[in-house]
């Protein structure tokens, strides 16, 4: 989904430059609207109208197959917010997102930093770290499904010969959850490393040199100097990764675990987007699925507004 890749952070140099001026080179009352027309038709028909319909559907109890609907008001929202199943889905989505974002970014930042040190073969290391960008969630899911297959997967073959055990990875709730988290981190690594490498390139060399003169060890320089300097990029990546974890988890989960295995009220890898899909297209509870969509739209809205509000105000380094 394109949203994952949206809004690269503005470069400090651009924000320091004079504000871009308004141009009015060409004069025509019609032409600009003509140029905007295709974009607006698409946005109106395929985004704004469905968004409006979603809002309306969430207020009706309806079945897309039977085509009936009765007005419910906010009843379906109340039902969802009181449902123990939905509580668990929210909770495990939050835990999943937190783990994927925090662990994923820490690993990516550390590796990007090491791979941009002046060492032999640095270029090779960087290349080997960014190519996972080309992985899709579905491919990641497919490979991991085979890798962790209890009978014939290579992981269990190794474990069986070393310690004589063959864990049933996808039947054990904790293991399955962990696998989905790891696979998501693995899939996202390339993207995060690309952006961290770019941010590291923009750190003025004098800063790290000064730290070295002051006697900072590599580790101190990293935590006290580099880590804070990368905070604007980290901030940007937290948001893109959050959106990634919320939505792109679907392909991974659908292939790897199908939302299971059951733990407590529901499957432990049934995240919000998977629940929406199940309710909308498996259980045919269209109204409920629409209400879930509205709740998630609110979440995305809050996340986006926070990014716009705080993202550009972050301390920038240099110039």
């Amino acid at each position: 989904m394109s949203l994952t890749f949206s809004r690269p952070p503005r470069k400090p140099a651009t924000s320091a430059a004079a504000p871009p001026e308004e141009r009015a080179t060409f004069k025509s009352p019609v032409l600009p609207w003509l140029f905007l027309l295709p974009t607006f038709i698409i946005l109106a028909v395929f985004l704004y109208y469905p968004a409006f319909r979603t809002l309306r559907l969430s207020l009706f109890r309806s079945n897309i197959i039977l085509g009936n609907e009765t007005f419910e008001g906010l009843g379906q929202f109340a039902e969802l917010l009181n449902s123990p199943v939905y509580h668990q889905v929210i909770l495990q989505t939050v835990i999943y997102c937190a783990l994927v974002v925090v662990i994923g970014l820490l690993i990516a930042m550390g590796l990007a930093w090491l791979a941009s040190r002046p060492i032999a073969g640095a270029k090779f290391y960087r290349l080997m770290l960014i190519y996972p960008y080309a992985l899709s969630p579905a491919i990641a899911g497919t490979i991991w499904l085979f890798l962790f297959n209890p009978e014939i997967g290579v992981i269990n073959n190794i474990l069986a010969s070393l310690v004589g055990t063959r864990p049933r990875w996808l039947d054990n709730p904790l293991l399955a959850f962990g696998l989905v988290v790891l696979a998501a981190i693995w899939k996202g690594l390339g993207y995060n490393v690309v952006f961290y490498l770019a941010a590291i390139q923009n750190i003025p060399g004098e800063v790290t040199e000064a730290a070295a003169i002051d006697g900072a060890t590599g580790w101190q320089a990293y935590w006290k100097v580099v880590f804070p300097l990368l905070s604007p990029m980290t901030f940007f990546l937290v948001f893109t990764n959050l959106i990634y974890a919320l939505f792109e988890s679907f392909g991974l989960v659908d292939i790897l675990t199908r939302g299971g295995p059951v733990y407590g009220q529901t499957g432990i890898t049934t995240f919000l987007i998977y629940q929406l899909y199940e309710d909308g297209f498996r259980n045919f509870k269209t109204g409920v699925a629409a209400a879930e969509a509205v709740l998630m739209l609110i979440m995305v809205g809050v996340i986006t507004v926070m990014q716009f509000r705080y993202g550009n105000r972050r301390v920038h380094y240099g110039a």
Partner: protein, 292 residues
Amino acid sequence: MARKAVSVPSPAATTAPRPRSSGPARHWWIHLILIVAIVVVASPLLFALIKSTQASDVVIGPSMLPGGHFFENLASVWSGAHLGRYMLNSFIVTICVTSGKTILSLLAALAFVYFRFPLKNVAFALVLFTLMLPTELLIVALFDLISGTLKWADNYAAIIVPFLASATGTFLFRQHFLNIPASLSDAARIDGCGPLTFLSKVLIPMSWNTIGALAVIQFVAAWDQYLWPLVIMQSDDKQVVQVGLRRLIDAGGQTDWGAVMAGAMVTLIPPLLVFTLLQEQFSKGFALGQDK
């Protein structure tokens, strides 16, 4: 003020006077961590690659020796499980979406930067606001619209048309155009250049990095589409390859894992190729590379 970007440290940077020696000896642990990291990152793919070359009786065993059956495996999914068909569909969809998004965003950015018109800010806000409306969340209503009203459920249009507009693209091109000196467009207009000629003769040649960067992210995003095609595409011979992967696994009772791994490897190639070819534009287009 010119900041010095000591970036991808070149040999020059290493030989520059530094307070501490940074000889290879001090770096052994960096090499160690990086090597471990790339091995860990690469191992699932290596595993898949090796398994994709093994004969079907070896695949299920513990052997990790490469075999010579890659093309045999690939052939069995390529025609037997319609992988070839899925790949072709994904190509059609991805190329249409990527080029459509690029053209529509270029036109929209042209309007936003080089014209003054009433309600411009409102129009721009309406484009930007769609960043908050990911298609994944609209699937229920969109399904209703596309399969019910438009009857596109077995048409490529269902997975192409809704994605043709791009807020990200419009935003990026607008930023890029705003950094091009206004004198250029003034000169063009004085020379009698219309807006479309200006776009094709001046702006596009100056925007290849941004176009390339956008193409990479749009290509990868369109190629990776999963949820929407899964939901909407009714006819299997128009399905995309990501959903096709699931079909390969499910096909029959017994999954032919060697063949599935061969399929996964082939599915990986197009985005990898696009990313590798356009990597330079990708970094430059986002102004990620070096300082101007």
